[in-house]
């Protein structure tokens, strides 16, 4: 671990400005991912800006009838919030499907969106990884890729985004609020927040240097039956092989987003017009152009079957 300096920010704008000022600076919130990566030399920030004391840990109603989730709201608190459980059960379920109780107690809303991939080659500094060391290559391609992407990947990177929470937020059309080093703020639709790897897999989102997430807003509740189906080899504390976030309305229309299949939460709005035709049609549109590896081709089948199971469950819940 490289020695680093540390400061506690006093306001979001000050944090953003400090981050832009000091080269190699990073924000630290819960630290559940960053500290692990620092210990093994994958992340080597020269300076840490602690954003835990910025009063960003409340959940408040918005004027539009939605909720504004402070960036420092812990995953545990968010999942347990009565308004979330009542109006956005999808989000609560996704959160509770992730990590462990101890990790959720520390992990934050903003930090969860910025989790790095769990690709084992990314975690091993002896191995080629364009995400860790741009231009070094990708050892996962042709290697162990059971957990890896089947859509939206590139010749540079086949990693997946590991978050469950973000998949639910994608289905809920959340918006990410930020503050930039110059003090200005902006709102980024979650659909535009995470990026595909392309030739720059080390870039994982659209945040500019120093830009700090201050909140995530949820629009008015959309109702319907909300399900989060996470498929994994063991019952808890495992990353998704695939996950399906689904909202089904009484009229049979709905939304679906996938986790564990791409470099970002995967949603193709056009696929949702296929809901009346059933799982196969939805999955086919969602995974159009999929290029799985030999090791993860099963995910294509698994996605379709998990969507089918979710549709069936939604039907049952309605009945």
């Amino acid at each position: 671990m490289k020695p680093f300096t540390y400061e506690r920010a006093t306001t979001p704008a000050a944090a953003a400005s400090a981050a832009a000022r000091v080269p190699g600076a990073k924000f630290i919130a819960g630290g559940t991912n960053l500290l692990d990566l620092m210990k093994i030399g994958v992340e080597e920030p020269a300076h840490l800006i602690d954003v835990n004391g910025l009063d960003l840990d409340t959940i408040e109603p918005t004027d539009e009838g939605g909720l504004r989730l402070g960036a420092m709201v812990r995953n545990t608190d968010l999942a347990a919030d009565a308004r979330i459980r009542r109006d956005y059960p999808l989000l609560s379920r996704a959160l509770l499907a992730g990590a462990s109780g101890q990790l959720r107690n520390k992990a934050t809303t903003g930090g969860n969106l910025l989790q790095r991939t769990r690709c084992p080659y990314f975690y091993d500094t002896n191995q080629a990884c364009n995400k860790r060391l741009p231009g070094s290559g990708c050892a996962a391609i042709g290697g162990f890729s059971r957990q890896h992407a089947i859509v939206g990947a590139s010749k540079s990177c086949i990693a997946v985004h590991p978050s469950d929470m973000a998949v639910a937020m994608r289905a809920l059309d959340a918006t990410v609020e930020t503050v930039r080093p110059d003090g200005s703020t902006r709102r980024i639709p979650i659909a535009d927040f995470h990026t595909l790897p392309g030739n720059t897999p080390h870039i994982e989102n659209v945040l500019a240097p120093g830009e700090l997430i201050t909140a995530v807003t949820l629009p008015r509740p959309v109702g319907g039956t909300q399900l989060y189906h996470k498929v994994r080899d063991r019952a808890s504390y495992a990353f998704a092989l695939v996950s399906v976030a689904m909202i089904v309305q009484p009229d049979g229309s709905g939304r679906v987003a996938l986790g564990g299949v791409a470099h970002k939460p995967w949603r193709v709005e056009a696929a949702e017009t296929e809901f009346p035709k059933g799982a196969k049609a939805v999955a086919t549109r969602l995974l159009a152009g999929a290029q799985p590896t030999e090791g993860n081709a099963f995910k294509v089948t698994l996605v379709e079957r998990t969507i089918a199971a979710s549709l069936a469950e939604a039907k049952e819940a309605k009945a």
């Binding site: 671990m1 490289k2 020695p3 210990k39 093994i40 030399g41 769990r118 084992p120 080659y121 975690y123 091993d124 500094t125 002896n126 191995q127 050892a139 042709g142 290697g143 162990f144 059971r146 189906h229 498929v231 994994r232 080899d233 063991r234 019952a235 808890s236 504390y237 495992a238 990353f239 092989l241 799982a279 099963f298 089948t301 698994l302 079957r305 998990t306 089918a308 199971a309 069936a312 469950e313």
Partner: protein, 732 residues
């Protein structure tokens, strides 16, 4: 004391303390953090420095050069040791690869340097600055590809044959010929390999996590080229081993070398990835099983072949050994082949041989039962044998497999199992039941102890036996209490120090029976010494309730130590009872599992183990051993696999996020039954091993339950959904 005739009645048979489910006496220390593990010996070794290991980034090749300049200049660095600067090092008897590599590299993450610094963080930071330039050479990393190059191993029995297997198999009415694979497994124990080394002149003391103190002491001496007398190993508490700590590993050697270079004590712990690629693992196997039976279900021919790989000079996974003994059949063969692989060193992990062998054999038996249209329990019972099938004049000392099977079937509700697979459904779940026989040989090892009675009437037991979380402290105390007629709280047990008499150590499920038998031997001597001091006939003396009595005369035991401690030391050695009688432990595992009809996710609902393993010295700690082993068996069945990168030659998923082991949510209620049994051929304790029996057959029972639920047979472990999702019926 020599044990060469079957045990008769002895003081242990009173079972006032032995056989009682008493709490672990080390439990309160562990739950309050006052049991100090190797890396926590800060009171014994204040002001030690920290060493951090640098591992090879290639699997095979040579070090061209090492640049230490930046690391040496890093803050807090005290010393850096590489093979070049370590001085002459030999290789321990129990190591296959060298613990400090260079210039030749034998496997990924083989240690190439240790960086010693004032703090752990400084050592780790500096270790990341060590620049090593390697020249890679091609290696063999793929067992399937290397299978045809496999040869008979140099050591052990590679081939067995009885009758005429080929003819017997060919003539059988019902035949099975199937291939199975098991992957590499990691011990994945909680406590990492860790050591603190301190030199005093040319004498070395090592606080280290090690299951076998005397083996370790010998190998440290050999490796460093110093007399064994100059090495002291101390290992009072061990946070799990499962075979991963049977041998000296790089943490111990590099702590010793680092301490010598830095001229002060040094602590080294291996980070988790090193536990997977730097230390040992259970090797993967490819197994072929052929079984032929008559129409009425009698096995006529049984053949088991196994292929595994290891570094040059290594050993095979002996996956066929149970097949020589478990079922009857006149025509038999086994073969063990070993390929050279340049992966990290393969070695023992919990129930080496049987755990992997039964993963395959007990699926094969399930398949045969189905082919014969027989119930799997009945098929096993029909083919039971009470004698060694290879040497029919050699009986088992005890063999109550049939009782295990029948007891288990009844208790588990086996009659509710659907005979036809894929016919039981509970909502979205496919439900099935599976079972398997459990078998593990019973090994006995010479074991010694020293016992001391003091004037306060306390008895102290000293032996270099280890407690790897199994309950050794407790059963040893129970043994001494029973022998001396004292309550448990008057016994002090001191373990894991090479200044104590050499014990059996912990491994191969021999530790419980062997180490307590050694304590028994020492206590017999102590009883004699005490009786003599009290002027009583040692042969007639009865030790009970703190008194020694002969006829009407009864004297408090403390009186014997009034003038000074009474000390006795002895060990238990074994004659040829193990040759004359086949000593094994038996069991039956029953599992109910459910499979998500849509996603193929598998969850275990219920588990039962019935064990026949001699006298159970402490039902509570024995049950803990068995449920832990059953949990490990679920891991082997459903998730555990060290994934080999066949291009780069290493285990890719080298942390506990990637190498999944069961979590609480994966494990349902586990029921364990011990048959009431004593085995007078095993030792005066009449006990046998049980900690490894518990894992044997579990994975196959789970796999058979999955088959019963889905109708899809998976012969390649772990049984994960990607291997059968394509064959599940459409989602309703």
């Amino acid at each position: 004391m020599k044990f060469d005739t079957p045990a008769t009645t002895n003081p242990i048979d009173r079972l006032k303390v032995v056989g009682q489910p008493v709490d672990r006496i080390d439990g309160p220390f562990k739950t309050t953090g006052t049991a100090h593990y190797a890396y926590e010996q800060h009171e014994a070794v204040p002001h030690h420095a920290y060493g951090y290991v640098v591992g090879s980034s290639i699997a095979k090749g040579r070090i061209v050069s090492i640049d230490l300049t930046r690391a040496q200049r890093a803050p807090g660095v005290l010393a850096i040791v590489t093979a070049k600067t370590a001085g002459k090092l030999d290789k321990g008897k129990f190591n296959t690869a060298r613990l400090l590599g260079g210039p030749e590299i034998e496997h990924y993450h083989q240690a190439v340097a240790v960086v010693v610094a004032e703090t752990f963080e400084q050592a780790r930071a500096a270790a990341q600055l060590v620049r090593v330039d390697y020249a890679r050479s091609p290696g063999k990393f793929d067992l399937a590809a290397a299978k045809d190059s496999a040869r008979k191993p140099d050591r052990g029995k590679s081939d067995t044959a009885v009758g005429d297997f080929a003819a017997g198999f060919a003539a059988s009415a019902v035949k099975l010929d199937a291939m199975y694979t098991t992957p590499d497994h990691s011990h994945a124990m909680m406590e990492p390999h860790a050591s603190i080394a301190a030199w005093e002149g040319d004498k070395l003391t090592l606080w280290t996590a090690n299951q076998m103190i005397d083996w370790g002491r010998g190998d440290v001496a050999i490796t460093l080229g110093i007399p064994k007398e100059n090495v002291r190993l101390i290992s009072p508490y061990i946070g799990g081993g499962f075979g991963g700590k049977l041998f000296v590993r790089s943490d111990a050697l590099l702590a010793a070398l680092g301490a010598r270079a830095a001229k002060r004590p040094v602590a080294v712990a291996l980070p988790r990835p090193f536990m997977i690629n730097n230390t040992t693992h259970r090797p993967a196997t490819i197994q072929r099983i052929r079984i032929g039976a008559s129409k009425d279900g009698k096995i006529q021919a049984i053949g088991h072949e196994s292929w595994s790989g290891d570094l040059p000079g290594g050993d095979p996974e002996t996956a066929v050994q149970q097949t020589r003994l478990l079922y009857a059949g006149a025509n038999r063969m086994t073969a063990t082949r070993l390929a050279v692989l340049d992966l990290p060193e393969g070695n023992a992990m919990r129930a080496p041989g049987e755990a992997s062998g039964l993963m395959a054999l007990e699926i094969a038996i399930d398949e045969m039962a189905e082919k014969l249209g027989m119930d799997p329990v009945e098929f096993r019972i029909l083919n039971d044998t009470q004698v060694d099938p290879e040497k029919p004049d050699r009986p088992f000392s005890q063999r109550r497999l049939v009782e295990c099977l029948r007891t288990g079937a009844k208790r588990f509700g086996w009659e509710h199992r659907a005979t036809r697979p894929a016919t039981r459904r509970d909502g979205r779940w496919l439900v099935g039941m599976g079972m398997a026989a459990a078998f593990r040989n019973n090994l006995v090892m010479k074991s010694g102890a020293r016992v001391r009675l003091d004037r306060n009437g306390r008895v102290t037991v000293e032996t270099d036996m280890t407690d790897i979380g199994t309950g050794s402290y407790t059963i040893i105390a129970q043994t001494a209490a029973e022998m001396m007629g004292l309550p448990l709280d008057r016994i002090d047990v001191r373990l894991g120090d090479s200044t104590f008499p050499v014990s059996s150590g912990s491994g191969g499920q021999w530790g419980g029976n062997s180490s307590t038998a050694g304590v028994y031997a020492a206590c017999v001597k102590l009883r004699e010494a005490i009786a003599q001091k009290l002027g009583l006939d040692p042969n007639a003396a009865n030790f009970e309730d703190g008194k020694v009595a002969v006829g009407q005369r009864s004297v408090p035991i403390t009186q014997a130590a009034a003038a000074g401690d009474v000390v006795a030391e002895d060990s238990m050695e074994y004659g040829d009872l193990g040759k004359r009688y086949q000593q094994s432990t038996f069991g039956a595992h029953f599992v109910e599992a459910r499979v998500d009809a849509a996603t193929g996710e598998i969850r275990v609902d219920r588990m039962l183990a019935v064990c026949a393993a001699g006298r159970i010295l402490n039902p509570k700690s024995a049950r803990s051993q068995v449920i832990g082993a059953m949990t490990m068996g679920v891991g082997a069945a459903l998730m555990e696999e060290l994934v080999v990168d066949r291009r780069l030659g290493f285990f890719v998923n080298h942390d506990l996020a990637g190498y999944e082991v069961p979590v609480h949510a994966d494990i349902p209620h586990q029921d364990v039954v011990f048959l009431d049994e004593t085995d007078p051929m095993s030792s005066p304790m009449k006990a046998k091993g049980v900690g490894e029996l518990g894992i044997c057959g579990v994975a196959a029972a789970v796999a058979n339950a999955v088959y019963n639920a889905t109708g899809v047979r998976v012969r390649d472990y772990p049984v994960t959904l990607d291997k059968f999702i394509d064959t599940l019926p459409p989602v309703a």
